[in-house]
Symmetry: D3
Subunit: 136 residues, 6 copies
């Protein structure tokens, strides 16, 4: 079993707000991240797949197909977007790094063949990142 990780980057904006909370609670929990105009990040995504090494190719996964899936399911949908307004998952969920990692898992996992998704890591900045390994 070998694990292969590929990085990709996208730029997006977001803000944090829960309509079920009072303005005071929103301010206390989210601080300046609650600015409804939004602010943004250069997100770095690391997708890790695992599997046996194919003896014909020496690869654990077809890198071209993996790249196509990341481009179509993640980058085309999230890059240069305002997450709260333009990405369906975040019409009712707060686009925290945690929820973003889960959403990316759910977008990629059904599309992968042969290789198995192991981990989705999302860096919001070089100093903060989230890992999601699926439900298990």
């Amino acid at each position: 079993m070998v694990y292969l990780t590929r990085k990709a980057e996208f730029s997006a904006s977001h803000y944090y707000h829960n309509p079920d909370l009072t303005p005071e609670e929103n301010q206390r929990i989210f601080g300046k991240s609650g600015n409804p105009n939004g602010h943004g990040h250069n997100y770095t995504l690391e997708v890790t797949v695992k599997g046996e090494v194919d003896s014909r190719s020496g690869f654990v996964v077809d890198l071209k197909k993996l790249k196509e899936i990341l481009n179509r399911e993640v980058l085309d949908a999230l890059d240069h977007r305002f997450l709260n307004k333009e990405v369906p998952e975040f019409s009712r969920q707060i686009p925290t790094t945690e929820n973003l990692a889960i959403a990316i898992w759910q977008r990629i996992q059904p599309k992968l063949q042969n290789a198995q998704l192991h981990r989705v890591r999302v860096y919001e900045s070089p100093n903060l990142f989230v890992d999601f390994y699926g439900k298990a």
Copy 2:
């Protein structure tokens, strides 16, 4: 003469649009950066000052004062902001990395004492940055 550089980071969102151009021209020049909802970046700012080394302190600039200036003039004004809507310089200027570097120079330069501003560098991403050295 010694040059000292200090880095700082801020997150902001922006979009590129020139109201004097046709929609087609805007699309051709700005592509997906023209999305009016905005998208964002983790900007990295490098501010370089130059001067003689003070023999009493061994410093070319008082680092605490430099940090205060960067915080007050730049980070408080730009961090977690939508540049087009919330930063006065960009109400009529497009917030490109070029214009951002110039705006930051103009915010910092009048506040510096003793040391002289040499360069403002702004990274929009690890792969793209702009340098501004003032009018000269």
Copy 3:
């Protein structure tokens, strides 16, 4: 279950010496790290917590509280310190990166509420780091 990691940095000095060993053994094991004047590093700390995503906030942990704990329990105690002389854990233990990771775990773990500490990673330099996951 989601894992969130936050980085922090501190500068400290240390040296390696075991008084129960002969000078020759100390020299053989520790080499130039045994210089009693000390030398120093910019340490990078990565603290990983795990937990369920809170549906009200979208967070796995209150980042402000996590930051306060890291500041109070780790950075205030270790930053700009000579570890052997000024940090109680190292009055009788050698302040290797291994022991530093364990000490930081023991400082943080009792203070965390709700979220669970998963891993402490300490980089002594970009080329050397240690991970500690607790006793288990």
Copy 4:
């Protein structure tokens, strides 16, 4: 149980080709990586060992010995080499990052004493890396 990771770097060239496949299949699977003149990378290797902290030294592994093993078994054999032509493992195996991680594990693992090899990570570039944890 503590995990210690040490990085090292080497430069090598390689190309991807499977003589049992048709030229068309080779082209489809390997694209421009199939150029038989070879192309190259600055590989980054991370070797992680695990063990108890030795109370006499505060170390989980003798770093000097670990460095010697990495130099002799890995860097001397792979650095500044054309992997397909000069490294025995790749006379019949394609030198993908996956196979390179496995080969490095097999070179290091029998030489380690006291500490236990936990993981070999190989970065082919900052955007692509492979992890191998042994057969288990």
Copy 5:
């Protein structure tokens, strides 16, 4: 006057040899970089252009055109190539980082319009890079 820098990466292999020198001189000057099978690097290229900021676009250079020039003149020609054998400039010149920076300048400079080429920087590794500013 504003300076804009864009990074790009390519992987190539090369070796160092001067046929006018004796084998002993080649060995003394080039050491293990003289292995005729070649070894490789992930090169990082930084191209800096300078100019006035265009008031209509806020740009100093059309980034799409700059990217096209870099792709066509540099990356298509050098990426995944054995520099000594496949790149005309190096049929008679040694492909050192110095000569590579000069060759990239000469490939890009005639193609740029409006903006002026200021500097070509080539990193052979994170620890070694070369700058070329043209003949002047």
Copy 6:
């Protein structure tokens, strides 16, 4: 004219204190950097030399000789040292990053032959660095 830059790293400890100032002034200027036990950094040094490219070697400087000079004049003298106590330049000068860059220039410059020293850059941390270009 081509510029070549080589990086090197060293770990050292230091503290900031001027015996001609009152304790209050020292505290105000130097804050926690004034702790006399010292604290430390992983310093990164970048040395830039300039010259014509030698047509026989393709090099602007003999990299092996440059490395020897850096090792002997800088790393052997500063690495794993307490700068205030063990490096002569700092017996009467405060070992700020500014003074460290000047001291390294003065150590290297007289030893270089053929190539000309252009710049010494010293990073105290990833967020703070100093450049010195000599007296001119």
